[in-house]
Each structure stands twice: as structure tokens, then as C-alpha cells.
Amino acid sequence: MKINSKVIIDELNRIKEKITVDKKQEYLLLSIKEIKQIAKKFHYPSKEIEILALDEGILPSRYQKNYSSISLSEQIKLLRSKVAVIGCGGLGGNILELLARLGVGEIIVIDGDKFNESNLNRQILCTEENLKKSKVKEAAVRVRKINSSVKVKTHTLFINSKNIQEIIQGADLAIDALDNISTRFVLEKACQELEIPLVHGAVDGFNGQVSTIFPQDQGLELIYGSLKKLNRQKRISRLSVPAVTPALIASFQVQEVINILLQKGKPLRNELLFIDLEDHDIEILKLDK
């Protein structure tokens, strides 16, 4: 059934409630209940109701505390965005939580793994109740609980050079939340071919790093050297990850996502943000092309 958006806009204006936040700033708010009622009445996706509302200067209450930092038009941009999160562990779980709360409209989640007890120390989506369950299925449940307007597409598989492009095709950008270096190179190649940015993040111990790679950038090779050399030299990461590190690095990665989607700030291109939480050190390292 094709719905004339004008009918919905009229409905929005009919029920809107004027709320004064402070003397200088005032805006109109729409509750989740009202959004769901309209969505049900017109058989229209709640995300589209939110977009129509924002376009009319009506702010869904769930985004009230985004406002000022994220304008109404920027909130629409986020709702119309589609991002791919590759890996659903320590980084991926935190990233998903943040994307859902921000109101990024569509998320592709990819991970072939199930939760186990060793994930409990850091993976925000892992609980004692969902051990042995699929990470991506649990991720979708969590996102729906936070923001039912966000569409989640899950892929219970591990990426490789043959499947990755098809899975992330159509995404505005990809987020690297993987747990090994060689698969990161596979992801980077796919992003280059699809011509989308990649937000890289990696952790070990109390150390973490973030970088943003655009398709034309040299990217991971600047950070890790060539994959061939890396394998030959048998360089490895220790893979000890306490909870604090992925939580922080995920936040930096999602800020990069905001910056790219909304064209805010300056992305960490040809730069590596390195953090040592133990010593409170944060450095931005310039990487030569």
C-alpha cells in the first residue's frame, strides 16, 4: 500500500507536543509510543516516521540528547545511513550498541562465532544467559531492544575474499572489528573495490589503535607492513583484552563513523591514533604515504 507522506505529516503535526527545553532552545518532541502508533496506523516503517518527523522539525524523544551535537538534518542523515560491522566481539559489540543509540538506520553485522565463557570479560553482548548462542543473532536482539527503528541484517559466517564484497555491498562504510590481522587485509581490499571508507580498530592488552582508510589510501600496509612480510616474520599480537580497551577504541571508531557520515571533523586518514590506557597516553602518529 502506497502511503502519501503528507497524510503522515498531518498526523505528526496533529499529535505533536510543544516542549520548552530552556529559554533559548525549544523544539517539538515525539515519543516512541507515538511513533509506533503512527507506524502501525499507516503500515509504515518507524524509521521513515522518524525521518518525516525530523524533516518537519519534530524531534523523536530518543534523539533529544543527540540534539545540539547532532542537528535534525544530521540525524536524518544518520537514519538514512547503512554501515557494516565486521566482527561482533569486544569491539563489534560496543560499536553496535553505540550505532543503535545514535540512530544509524541500517546495520549489517557479520560474525560466524558463538559466545563462550572467555568472552564474558569484555564482550558487552555476551552474558551468562546467551553462552553458545550466535553472536550476530544476539546482536540483532540487543539492537532491537535499544532502537527498534534500526534495521539489522545479520550474517552468521566468517568473511573471506569470496563472500565479503557481496555482503557489505551498499554500505556507506565498513567498520573493522575483526580479531586477526590477515582478515583485515581481506576486508580492506573489498572496501577499496567497493570504494567505501573503512574504519580500522584493533586492541591488545591496555593498548588500542584507530585509523580511517579511504579507498585510495595505502591503509593497513602503513600500519602493519605487507601481509606477506608480516606472516614471514611471524609477528603476532598477544590477544589479551581486558574490557576497558575495546570499549574505548569502539567509541573512537564510532566517532570516526559520525565524522565520515556527517562530514564533521577530520578523519584519521594516514594517521594512527594509539592509546595506552595504563599510562594515559594518547598519540596521533602520522603515517607516510
Binding site: 569486544g90 575483526l178 616474520q233 609477528r235 599480537s237 598477544r238 589479551s240 602518529l285
Partner: protein
């Protein structure tokens, strides 16, 4: 005779013995002949397999780079987890 003075600074978990009170751990070495970064690291008994980014006087380089002049090298751990 030119002496090549090298200061090695280890960042993150590579510097297990570093003290936050005294600043980062700095390893000093002196050489007469040009030497590769890898040879310096081996000489300093740093485990090569845990090393990620290598910054030489603020520019990223690799273990094969031949050092001819005095310099400061900062080593960052290889991070691959998620």
C-alpha cells in the same frame, strides 16, 4: 669516526618494565657502522614478533631500514585483537 647514537623508546605493552613515574623506558645504544633497525632491536633484546609500528624520528619505517645517523626510534606493539 662518527658514532651513531640510537635511543629506543618502547610504547604500550612492549615496555613491561617502564615506570609511569620516570617516564617511558629508553634504551640507548651506540654503533660505529650503519646498522639495520632489526639488528638494533635484536641487540636490545626486544622481541621482534610483538613489534608493530616503528617510528624513526617521527616517521614510520620498517625493520630492514639501514640507520646511518643518530636517531630516536619509538616502537609500538602489534595490535590485532578485536
Amino acid at each position: 669516526m662518527k658514532i651513531i647514537k640510537i635511543e629506543l623508546i618502547v610504547a604500550g605493552f612492549l615496555g613491561n618494565s617502564k615506570s609511569t613515574k620516570n617516564g617511558p623506558e629508553i634504551i640507548k645504544r651506540e654503533y660505529i657502522n650503519p646498522i639495520t633497525v632489526r639488528e638494533v632491536l635484536t641487540d636490545a633484546k626486544i622481541k621482534l614478533r610483538f613489534i608493530g609500528l616503528i617510528m624513526l624520528n617521527g616517521k614510520n619505517t620498517n625493520q630492514d631500514f639501514l640507520i646511518n645517523h643518530s636517531c630516536r626510534i619509538k616502537l609500538y606493539p602489534l595490535l590485532g585483537g578485536g
